[in-house]
Amino acid sequence: MTAAEQLRARARYRRLGIQAVLVIVTALAVWGAVTNAQYNLTRLNMTSGFAFLDRGTGWNYSFSLVERSINDPYSYTLFIGLLNTLFVGFICIITTTIFGFLIGTLRDARHPALNFAASVYVQIFRNIPLILQAIFLYAILIHLGGPRQAVSFGDVAFLSGRGVMLPGLNVTPTVAVAILLASLGLGIGLILARTTLWRGLAIWFGGSVAMALFAALVLRPEGEGILSIPVLQGLRFSGGISVPIELFALITSITLYGSAYVAEIVRGGLAQVPRGLVEAGQALGLSRVSIWSRIKVPMALRSIIPPLGNQWIFMMKATTIGIAIGFSDLFYITVNAISQSGQTLELILLLMLTFLAINYSIAIFTNWLNARLKLKEH
């Protein structure tokens, strides 16, 4: 063996040794934490394990997309919390992305008034903590008064301190969720089929509306119209879609806050598009809209997607402020379950694993999107 080979071999052993030590130390730390927790739980006579998941909860909460009762076991109640978090998270991701693109484009615009308005928006909403904005908005909204004092919009939609009442299709909540899922499936199918953006959007929108109308026609209760309009009855409105004020406040505040960040990401992306490309478009006589949609946005997307993915993950985590305003998201349900069942470690573990799974999925999706949009020539 030459001297050089000996040195190389020694370096390899050293590397392996360091890795092995690291693995052992990590394993010891994990083992220590687990046994320590077990010892202390036994010492304090506390029961551990997941048996409580099958017990009925006995308490109610503010919002659920599906049927629920106070007899539901903890597992089902936590599942409803997960649905609520995903529901709010995805709505916020969509609204934030749309508003963010709009405001980011305005920030990039040459029109001084629009530019200024967009800057003011970004500075205000980006620099006030989200939880403060949510509590502030919620406090304003609940002071609108009860259903009897509701603000009416043409007698079909109402806004009160209890919630927003909208006219809706005459279907049960379960059917509504099924329609949403089908619409989501259609969207994913179109992305996988690699249809062009505008065509895909048109098919998705048209298809979703057609599906919803069809479902309402077929599944509506006997002898009732397709549309259900909210009507004041006793202490509350019945009919239509009722959006509880907590849900409305949560989505609005997360959207306002997140849009400011997305706007900055979009502005940064647009600013990186080489001037030469824009000038080339102008030389070809393309309209400003065409330059924006066919040159600037496609080029900018490459630098926008990775930070935008981070922002989407943040939106999902931001749903946990629901607890501050009484919205039953996964975090709220978990915290309440901890108070009521006392199974702190198990519930926190479930919560962490769930968020890890959700956000890791978003990260994988973002990476896939990024890879797909990358310039192939590079």
Partner: protein, 343 residues
């Protein structure tokens, strides 16, 4: 030889045992050495029970019971220290010795009695979950809340009681629960919900003082539960439980017998019957059996009055809250409070 000594020691110990039973409790011994009784306060004011007045002094029903116990043990109502504790802190603080006992609107539950290693005194107060609604709704009982929204504090026993009750009565409703009591109160006042579910006495006090126009709110007739409120102590010092129980018993007996802070000395000088004589230490027995002074009950009543006086001063007719005594009256006046037999 050593064997003899050991046997002798065991014999001596077993002979001494009957006297040991009457000996002082460990906790009382510590309190006497320290010269102060450590009682539980609140992180803020829990009106009527544990509250801070404008002069930064503690007052309330539970504080007066602490003062009564201080007088019984140390002979001076002011030799106590009120340790401010949140609801969540109270049991860990008791277990770690930061307070000697908890007298703070604390319900006697099975979990606390067993898993949490506590023991409870005789219940001295009964209060249950109730609902308060906005007056303009014109409702008087829970059944009329059908279709309405009810607010409640998240993670509490009240939350489960209300859910359970409304399901039993088949009252359709929506429920919004908040993590913070302040958030809950402001949501109710902002009319986010039609009704507010909480501990009855707390609602009454809130309605009487904290709300601008008490007549605009109605406490509904439904009694969702009746929780026995008792003092909580660490498991293992039975003698201390005896002291606290007889402190409460003495206050109730004094009310039954018409002994007040004003006439206690007179009653002690010329007791109308043997029970009063024993209670006020005119006859021996009251102190020795608890390892305390014979005159402890007399001094205590002179300092804080009987149970009725304490109630009236803090919650009843002499307080801003004007709460009826209801269940919290002597058994002979239609309530459920009674004292064990003083023999």
């Amino acid at each position: 030889m050593t064997k003899f000594l050991a046997v002798g020691a065991i014999l001596a110990a077993s002979l001494a045992a009957p006297q040991m039973a009457a000996a002082q409790s460990e906790t009382v011994k510590q309190i006497e050495e320290r010269g102060t009784l450590l009682c539980s306060g609140h992180n803020g004011s829990y009106f009527g029970f544990v509250e801070v007045n404008d002069n930064n002094e503690w007052k309330g029903l539970d504080i007066d019971l602490c003062r009564a116990l201080t007088t019984a043990i140390l002979g001076d109502p002011d030799k106590n220290q009120i340790v401010p504790l949140s609801w969540a802190q109270r049991f860990p603080a008791l277990q770690s010795g930061d307070v000697d006992l908890i007298i703070k609107a604390t319900g006697w539950t099975m979990g606390r009695d067993t898993e949490q290693g506590l023991q409870f005194s005789l219940p001295y107060f009964f209060g249950g979950a109730q609902l308060m609604a906005h007056g303009d709704l014109g409702v008087t009982e829970a059944a009329e809340l059908a279709g309405g929204t009810i607010c409640v504090e998240a993670g509490t026993t009240i939350e489960r009681l209300v859910a359970n009750y409304l399901q039993t009565e088949n009252i359709e409703h929506s429920m919004v629960s908040y993590e913070s009591a302040a958030e809950l109160r402001s949501a109710y006042l902002a009319n986010r919900c039609d009704a507010f579910a909480a501990w009855g006495p707390f609602l009454a006090v809130l309605r009487a003082t904290e709300i601008d126009n008490p007549d605009a709110h109605v406490i509904l007739g439904d009694q969702l539960s009746a929780e026995p409120i008792a003092a909580a102590m660490r498991q293992g010092d039975e003698a201390f439980v005896d002291v606290v129980n007889w402190m409460l018993a003495a206050l109730l007996i004094a009310e039954e017998e018409g002994i007040t802070s004003a006439n206690v000395d007179e009653m002690a000088a010329t007791p109308p019957n043997p029970r009063v004589a024993r209670l006020l230490g005119a006859e021996p027995g009251m102190g020795e059996r608890l390892g305390m002074r014979d005159s402890w009950a007399r001094e205590m009543i002179a300092a804080v009055g009987n149970f009725g006086e304490i109630y009236d001063r803090n919650l009843g007719k002499d307080s801003p809250y004007k709460l009826e005594r209801g269940l919290n009256n002597l058994w002979s006046h239609g309530g459920v409070l009674y004292a064990p037999i003083l023999d």
